[in-house]
Each structure stands twice: as C-alpha cells, then as structure tokens.
C-alpha cells in the first residue's frame, strides 16, 4: 500500500504515545482486521460452490446415469457409464441439430462482426448530427428486451398484416408478397431469427469498434497518407491490424453468445416448423424439460459445454491478462 499508509500508521502510533507491547484486545482486533477481507469474500465463494460447482457436478453425474420420469419420483438412479453419450452420438437427429447449430452460429457471428465493422467505419465518416441519430437508433435496438424483439419481429413479418410484406410488394419489382408466410420453411424462419439476433448484436460490436477506431487517432492515418498510401491500403495495413485484437475478442464473445442462444430460437417458433429450427440448446430443452429424458438432455448439455470450452479458454485467458495489465 506504499509509503503513505506507513506514514499514516506512524502518525497514529505517535499520537497514541510511546510504543508498548499490544494488549490482548488490540491483538484480537488486528486478527479480526486481517481476516476481514476473507470474510467479505466468503458469501461469493459459498455462492460459487453451491450454485455453480454443485450444478456442474450434478450435470456430469446426470449425464452418466439413467434419469427419467420414474427416477424423478423414486429418487433412485442407476449408473450407465457413457451410454447416454453413445446414444446421442449414434442418433442422426443429434448430428443434424449439431451441424445446424454450427451453420446458424457461423451465420450470426459472421454477419454481426461484418456489419458491425462496416457500421463502425461508417460512424467515423458521418456528420455529428447523423452520428448521434445512428447511435441513438442502435442503443434502442440494443436495449430492446429479447422477448420484445421476438414478438415485434413476428409482427413485422406477419404474413397478412405485416409491414415487411407490404413494403416488398410496394417496391413493385419483386411482385406481390402480401400473404407470404415467412415461417413456413426452416431456412426462412432461421433467416428471421438470424436477422433479429444480428439487429440486437451489431450495436454493441459497432460501438465497441468505433471506440477502438477513435483510439487509433488520426496521426497514424496522416502519416500513412503522407507516405502515399491510398484509403484502401490504409484500411488493410493500418486500421485493420490495429483493430485485430478487439475484433478477435468480439468474435469470441459472439460465438459464445450465439452458439448457446435459446430464447430467440425457441420463442420465435418453438423450434418449428417441424423441428427445422431446433438448435442445441432448444434440443436439450425439448428432450429434457418437455420429454423428461433428463439423462439424454444432460449429455447434450455436456457436449455443448465441451464445444464452448474451445472458444472459452482462450477468451478467459485474454480477459484475465488484460485485467492484470490494467
């Protein structure tokens, strides 16, 4: 804590007269003082242990047991080893869901980062007024609760009265879209879900990258221009390399968020039409909560966690390193 604290202690000691051996009560107070920080951490540690550690253990345990409705009421279970994992890995439906989740995540992340970067670059080139308008519009999209977003997008894309079908029809060149049903096929329903996710995710990415761009400053661009670099060269060889760590972190975060996304997918069409928009987290919900196959659902969740760890470990490592430098 440095010199000042030592000085403070010095001042206090001088004020209390000549140094004498500390009395038992003072020693007691000091012991309490030393343990105070640990006491303050205790509630958090207990919460982590009981509400995170224990559920994780139960997840692993459930995935290795036979756990259905019968076990829920009897309370006795049997260990089955890796049978649940073997069952889902042999199930073609699980394979389909897994591949679908990968494609869905790639689409969401790619679009979010791509559009976010473009919007950030656009922000840099706008008048002050337009810039403020765009920021306010993005904060509106960002602040919208997820379930609100789902309900509003259902209304926008309603087949009969939706404003989107009217707008497309009004343009004229695309033909008549009135009564077009967006939720009839899997890909089209996914399109709406991806659009909703990207609409809400771009503001965070764009505003973060815009802040990053401001950090780069004009000096470097000026220097590059003096050296005869074109705008395109400046972007690829100056701006992008400097933004790379930030873009990487935002990509990691987007993958983590979009891979396990549940609410948008489930609330939009409950995985329909015909189960064609069931992703991993929705699959785990349907198998576990709706069909009471808790064992299979736990195994599915374990696969989800293991796949997430691939992205999570480097992310957490970078996050801790940046905190320690700060």
């Amino acid at each position: 804590m440095g010199v000042i604290e030592t000085q403070a202690a010095e001042v206090r000691r001088k004020a209390s007269g000549p140094a004498v051996a500390p009395s038992p009560s003072v020693r007691m107070r000091r012991a309490v003082g030393r343990s105070l920080p640990y006491l303050a951490l205790l509630p958090t540690l207990v919460a982590f242990l009981l509400l995170l550690g224990y559920p994780v253990l139960r997840l692993v345990e459930t995935s290795l047991q036979h756990w259905g409705l019968k076990e829920l009421f009897s309370g006795t279970t049997t260990w089955v080893g890796l049978a649940n994992y073997q069952r889902i890995l042999a199930d073609p439906e699980f394979g389909t869901v897994l591949v679908r989740t990968f494609i869905f995540t790639a689409a969401c992340v790619g679009l979010t980062i791509g559009v976010g970067t473009l919007v950030a670059l656009l922000m840099e080139r706008l008048n002050h007024l337009v810039q403020v308008l765009l920021s306010v519009a993005m904060v509106l999209a960002w602040a919208t609760p997820i379930v609100t977003g789902v309900v509003v997008f259902q209304w926008l894309f309603d087949s009969k009265l939706g404003v989107v079908n009217w707008a497309i029809s009004s343009v004229g060149i695309f033909g008549n879209w009135l009564n077009h049903s967006w939720f009839e096929t899997g890909p089209s329903t996914f399109g709406i879900i991806v659009l909703l996710i990207v609409w809400q995710a771009v503001p965070f990415v764009a505003l973060s990258l815009y802040a990053g761009l401001l950090g780069i400053g004009v000096d470097l661009h000026e220097a590059a221009r003096v050296d005869g670099a074109s705008e395109r060269q400046i972007f690829w060889h100056v701006t992008l390399p400097l933004l790379r760590p930030l873009i990487l972190m935002l990509t990691f975060l987007s993958i983590i968020w979009d891979f396990k996304v549940y609410t948008q997918v489930y609330a939009m069409r409950q995985g329909g039409p015909d189960g064609q928009t069931v992703t991993l987290s929705v699959y785990s919900y349907i198998v576990g909560i709706s069909q009471s196959h808790y064992d299979i659902a736990a195994a599915v969740s374990m696969v989800m966690v293991v796949l997430l760890l691939i992205v999570l470990i480097p992310y957490i490592r970078t996050m801790i390193r940046s905190q320690e430098e700060a």
């Binding site: 919460a47 139960r58 999209a141 209304w155 009265l161 909560i289």
Partner: protein, 272 residues
C-alpha cells in the same frame, strides 16, 4: 464538389442505417397506439390517431398485474442480493492485496462465462428434489448467480478507478481503513453502482428460459408476453402495447445510466 457529393451520400447511408435500427422499435410503439381498424389493414398506417385502448386491453388481460408483481419482486431481490454480495468481494479484490487474489479473479472470470443454458437440467432436478420449483425465490437465487460474477468484475473496475490516494489522505487524518473506504470511496462509487445495477436489472427482467422451465404457475412477464402473443395472436395492437409496457423500464434504466456516466467518475476529486 465530388467530395461534397460523397459526404452527402455517406450521411444518407448513415440515415438509412439509423432508420433500419430504429424502425422495429418505432413500429412497436406506433402499433400500440393504433385502433383496430388501423391494425387490421393491408396498407399500414404510419401516423395513426392515437388511442389507449390497446394498453387498457393489455393491462386488463389475465395475470398481467400478478406477473408484473412477480417480475418486480424477482428483479429487485436479485439486484439487491447481487450488489451487496458483489460489492463486498469487489472492494476486497480492488483494494486489499490478499493471498489467492489472482485465483479468485480467475474463478470470477470463469463463472462469468458459465453457459447457464447448459445448467438448466441440474437446476431443474435439484429444485424438484428440494420442493423449490414453482417458487419465485428459486428464480432470485438463480438470477443472483447469473449476475454475481459480472457484478464483482464491474464494481472491481469502478473501485480500482477511484484513486487510493484519497483514502490514504483520510487515513493520515486519522480515519481507519474501512472508515476511509466508506467515507471517501463509496460516495464516488454511485455511477458504478448504478451501471452495474442496470446490468442486473436487465438480466433478471428479461430472463426467459429458466422462468419458462422451472415455474408452473408463478410466471414472470417475459413468459406472459410470449404466451400473450400465442393466445391473442390476432390482437397485434394489444400485443404491441404489452411489449411497449415491458420495454419501458429497461429503456428508462438505460437512459439513467447514460446520464450518470457522463462527467466521469472522479472528475475534480483529484487535482493534477
């Protein structure tokens, strides 16, 4: 000239993008104020004669008040619990060099990224065993652990941002360690507390998966809103009014934070 045209075009694109981002929210609010005729039409009405019928309809819909009460209780309890527990931990990691600090921070970082979507099954089984399903307190406990890691992480940053010199000056003047922290740093921490509280509020207020899976009758508003759309599928006016009402507190919180964050944390507190 060419340059002016290009600047104009860029700003036009900016306006178009702003329109796209704002439109869904605008359309929600404007639809909420439309009467049935303006809703039930193939040619959308962009500037309707406003009516409050939809709001009356939504508020009088079955369970709205009950679930609103549930949501408020769960959200405020989560917020209070997370802030108190998180603040204690954050103050320690930000100000005291104790053994195991690094390990604790790593634990918080890992907890913050925990995929709660994957922990639904164990939470469901544990709460069933304990007879705690369908209880609001279960949701409070779960949302508390959702928000605690970020609360610690965020408050730690805010506390670390307030210069420790101020506390040391108070200690030279005879204040105790804890006394200096409470009297000097805590009053400067308000913006950080409000910002962190906003995060807790939004997480608890919006949560859908656990509220939908663990509750059987004591639902919260997100579950109500989604089922409202299903049950009143054709009454888009009332659905949009309900969505608007549900969104308002979140927007209000966002605005408060924006206002409070301006001005900086310790502007003027330390000279030089």
């Amino acid at each position: 000239m060419n340059r002016i045209v290009r600047r104009g075009l860029v700003n036009l694109v900016g306006l178009a993008v702003a329109f796209l981002f704002a439109f869904p929210v605008y359309w929600m609010v404007i639809s909420a104020f439309k009467d049935t005729n303006d809703i039930q039409t193939y040619t959308p009405v962009f500037f309707p004669v406003p009516t409050l019928d939809n709001f009356v309809h939504a508020i009088n819909a079955p369970h709205f008040m009950e679930y609103l009460g549930n949501s408020v209780f769960v959200t405020l309890s989560t917020l209070a619990l997370a802030l108190v527990v998180g603040f204690l931990a954050a103050a320690v990691v930000a100000r005291v060099r104790i053994r195991g600090r690094r390990g604790f921070l790593i634990l918080v970082a890992i907890a913050q990224m925990a995929p709660f979507e994957a922990l639904l099954i164990p939470f469901f089984l544990v709460l069933r065993d304990a007879g705690m399903d369908n209880k609001l307190t279960s949701l409070v406990v779960i949302y508390f652990i959702f928000t605690l890691p970020f609360t610690i992480w965020s408050l730690r940053g805010f506390i670390a941002g307030i210069p420790v010199d101020l506390e040391e000056a108070a200690m030279v003047d005879g204040a105790s360690r804890v006394g200096a922290f409470v009297r000097v740093t805590l009053p400067l921490l308000w913006p950080g507390l409000v910002a962190t509280a906003t995060f807790c509020f939004i997480t608890a207020w919006n949560e859908f998966l656990y509220a939908n899976s663990l509750m059987r009758s004591t639902y919260t508003l997100p579950v109500w809103l989604v089922s409202f759309q299903t049950n009143f599928g054709t009454d888009w006016g009332a659905t949009m009014a309900a969505s608007t009402l549900f969104t308002l507190p979140v927007l209000a919180f966002f605005l408060i934070v924006q206002g409070r964050m301006v001005g900086g944390l310790t502007a003027g507190a330390v000279k030089g």
